[in-house]
Symmetry: C2
Subunit: 119 residues, 2 copies
């Protein structure tokens, strides 16, 4: 198990790169919301659009493409009639759940800490 990636003085370049990779996928206004919307099950474009208002089609399209390029989601074209396009998380994408949970955990603790500090 990992203790910590920092030796206190410097930080190995691979770790810096790893953090940047993660940041690339979680930061921004919409990316994380899109990922979270797919935790439960795969969805179609308009389903995601409805789940994350008020995202515009333009932004959703752009973010989906970026997440796909980054290997976080997959785009599946179902050749039925009419054609249906489904988005789903990759294995890697699903593992983002651990990261998100950690972020929620810190956010909640931090808010509690800063509030109790003011009383």
């Amino acid at each position: 198990m990992i203790e910590s990636y920092f030796d206190g003085i410097s930080c190995h370049k691979d770790y810096v790169l790893a953090v940047k990779d993660t940041l690339n996928v979680v930061s921004g206004k919409w990316k994380l919301a899109i990922v979270c919307s797919l935790f439960h099950e795969k969805k179609r474009f308009s389903e995601i659009e409805r789940m994350i208002p008020p995202i515009t089609p333009r932004m959703l399209s752009k973010e989906l493409r970026e997440l796909e390029v980054n290997g976080v989601i997959v785009r599946n074209v179902i050749t039925s009639m009419p054609i249906v396009i489904e988005y789903d998380l990759t294995l890697s994408g699903r593992e983002l759940r651990g990261v998100v949970d950690k972020m929620v955990e810190w956010g909640l603790l931090h808010r509690q800490a800063t509030i109790s500090e003011l009383t």
Copy 2:
């Protein structure tokens, strides 16, 4: 222990807020680097500046102020001669280490996953 904050359909507003709080502190080009530079011990302005090239004084100043407002670091003015100003992490700030470690972990695994996928 926390299983997950998502029920698959929706996501409680407090959790969304918590993620945003965390994102506020880790995203951007410099914030996380600054936080990490303080994991080992408190530092002065120019020490941080030297550790994170090529950050400009303008950016360092701005980011330090934001992190202070967000309760992640504290600014201590030591009234010696000459005056010394030290920056240190708050308790909350130190706990960011768990978040960063999780991010590094995912980043490394993800890179491995996407590479092995191409072979």
